[in-house]
């Protein structure tokens, strides 16, 4: 029989979905993403986390959310889920945003923007506002198309540029390597290792590897 692990993703946005799918693919394990839910901010995830925890009794679920302003990941996890976590639920937190993970593959990200690698932060998890830092780096890029796609127009209330998700997403799919990135982001490393070592339960029985 195959060792395929069918898994459902629950994420805040498209970029998080792309990053998770890429990690699962690069893990070398036989993950099969059955569906991806959420994609409308953290509110949905937070509201539904107990339901997702219940659902995880029947199928593996991988949640990824951004830490944002919360002090640290364990506090967020406790605040969100105050009942015992189902072993089939992988609940991961990007510190502070998934953008930290994206930037953590420093050489590839520098090449994507066409800037020097030493401009990319060596501790992306320590950044207060990773999206802002990322956009600051984009503004240093000489690639005009990229700047126009990723950075909001002057005076805009938009948080990101008009083609942010697709362009950054494309970078992740094509050039981002989790094994490189995990060296610079502790939260990514923990998430990746959880994905590498995950064994789904079915009806209380640990599945054979």
């Amino acid at each position: 029989m195959s060792n395929v692990i069918s898994i459902t993703l629950a994420v805040e946005d498209r970029l998080s979905e792309i990053v998770l799918r890429t990690i699962l693919l690069q893990s070398g394990r036989s993950y099969h993403v059955t569906s991806c839910i959420g994609l409308s901010g953290f509110g949905y995830l937070r509201k539904n986390i107990r339901r997702l925890n219940n659902a995880a009794e029947g199928m593996p679920i991988l949640i990824l959310t951004d830490l944002d302003r919360v002090e640290c990941a364990p506090i967020l996890q406790r605040e969100w889920l105050d009942v015992p976590q189902c072993p089939n639920l992988l609940f991961r937190v990007a510190v502070r945003e998934v953008e930290s993970w994206v930037m953590a593959h420093r050489t590839a990200f520098a090449a994507f923007l066409g800037i020097r690698t030493d401009l990319i932060p060596t501790n992306p998890d320590g950044l207060d506002d990773p999206k802002k830092t990322l956009l600051g780096l984009v503004s240093k890029s000489r690639k005009r198309d990229l700047r126009e796609a990723l950075i909001p127009m002057p005076k805009s209330t938009a948080k990101v540029g008009p083609d942010y998700n697709d362009q950054v997403g494309e970078f992740v799919i094509k050039n981002w390597r989790v094994r490189e990135a995990e060296q610079y982001s502790a939260s990514l490393r923990k998430a990746f290792h959880a994905i590498l070592s995950f064994h789904p339960f079915h009806e209380g029985v640990l599945c054979p590897r």
């Binding site: 946005d13 498209r14 994609l39 409308s40 901010g41 198309d145 126009e148 796609a149 909001p152 127009m153 002057p154 005076k155 805009s156 209330t157 938009a158 948080k159 990101v160 540029g161 008009p162 083609d163 942010y164 998700n165 697709d166």
Partner: protein
């Protein structure tokens, strides 16, 4: 060139409204608030400017001035449209065109110009009625915009208006062309003759566009391959593609067999790729899956960015407006009132601006405002 500002007076739902426009704008508002009527102001200018068009025809096609005029209009009966054209949204207007219409108070109720004005770089270069109009008031039944012999000094804007593009493709019309016989509508706004338009495009351009469309369609309908335009024995054009299934070669399908969503997406993408002038779109989300709708703003932006073209999009879609790349300044809220509909840029409303700046999406910040006020009472419909 883009329309950077529009002012409407007594135009359909709008007794007095004005809006600043950027390269990409989303119109949101309750049903019957005037989204289509707002877009129609641009179509009206196109209808006046285009060959075979003209003021009389444009008004007649809309049922006369009394149909165009805002129901809330009272003392001042004239209908006015003014547009400012700029090279970019944050630049000063290089052209302004303003038109005001009245109709004969008796007889044929023929529409005539109350005024027609053109400014170039701030200078008034056309100001009608002029002395010739005063001598011969029949001249006021035509704009200078529509006359090649009279629009020499501002041909640029006449051509701009003429090339304004509108598409609200209705898949059923395209699929069952024969069932909807009868005279075609001018400019085919609902895509009944969309296939003829495809067939008339030069082969190279058509192939290159269809290739791009096919690539984009991969997102939505990955089974669909080799999109092309073919002609049947009677010379009638058809949209064809291979629909892959369990058989090795797949099945050859034509537009009759395409799904509503596929047809609408093809029409939507084609109109994006066609031309580089102002594009007006009605509810591009119709018939499409949520996951596709969420990607439309990015797709629209990517295609228009290369062409520097402007798009005005009416929508009710929460998913479309979820995109974090949409700024509050790109959303126009149409707010109906007894005295006609008002237009506000979402970011100019303090509450909305605060929400968006706190990280709430444009969808959450604006759409609840456009819901009917007494929505709960819909339960009254229950017997």
């Amino acid at each position: 060139m883009i329309v950077s500002r529009i002012l409407l007076k007594n135009w359909r739902n709008f007794r007095h409204a004005e809006a600043e426009l950027g390269r990409r704008m989303f119109l949101v508002g309750p049903n019957a608030s005037g989204k289509s009527n707002f877009l129609d102001a641009f179509r009206f200018l196109r209808d006046v400017a285009k060959p075979g068009g003209g003021l009389q025809k444009a008004v007649e096609d809309r049922g006369g001035i009394s149909k165009i005029r805002c129901l809330a209009a009272r003392k001042e009966p004239q209908v006015e449209i003014e547009v400012h054209l700029s090279n970019a949204h944050d630049q000063k207007a290089c052209w302004k065109y303003a038109i005001s219409l009245k109709q004969d108070s008796r007889g044929h109720r023929r529409p005539y110009l109350d005024y027609e004005k053109v400014w170039k770089d701030g200078d008034l270069i056309l100001n009608r009625p002029d002395r010739y109009d005063q001598k011969d008031d029949r001249r006021l039944t035509q704009t200078h915009l529509e006359q090649i012999s009279a629009n020499y000094a501002f041909r640029e804007i006449a051509e701009f208006f003429e090339s304004i593009c509108y598409l609200h493709l209705v898949p059923q019309l395209l699929r069952h062309q024969n069932a909807f016989s009868g005279p075609a509508m001018r400019d085919d706004p609902f895509g009944r003759n969309f296939l003829e338009k495809l067939a008339q495009t030069t082969e190279g351009t058509r192939k290159s566009r269809l290739k791009k469309i096919e690539k984009a369609l991969q997102l939505a309908v990955p089974q669909l391959k080799e999109l092309s335009v073919t002609k049947d024995d009677a010379g009638k054009p058809h949209l064809a593609a291979i629909y892959e299934h369990w058989r090795l070669r797949g099945a050859r399908q034509q537009e009759e067999e395409f799904s509503d969503g596929t047809l609408r997406l093809v029409g939507f993408l084609w109109s994006l790729l066609e031309g580089d002038s102002l594009l007006l779109m009605e509810e591009p989300e119709l018939y499409l899956h949520t996951a596709i709708i969420r990607r439309l703003p990015g797709i629209i932006w990517r295609i228009q960015a290369k062409k520097k073209r402007q798009t005005l999009i009416s929508t009710h879609s929460y998913d479309l407006l979820l995109d974090r790349g949409i700024g509050g300044e790109e959303v126009l809220l149409l707010i109906p009132d007894k005295e006609g509909t008002n237009i506000r840029t979402a970011s100019s409303i303090d509450d909305v601006r605060v929400l968006i700046e706190s990280g709430i999406s444009v969808a959450e910040a604006t759409l609840p405002r456009t819901a009917p006020r007494d929505i709960d009472q819909l339960s009254l419909f229950n017997e």
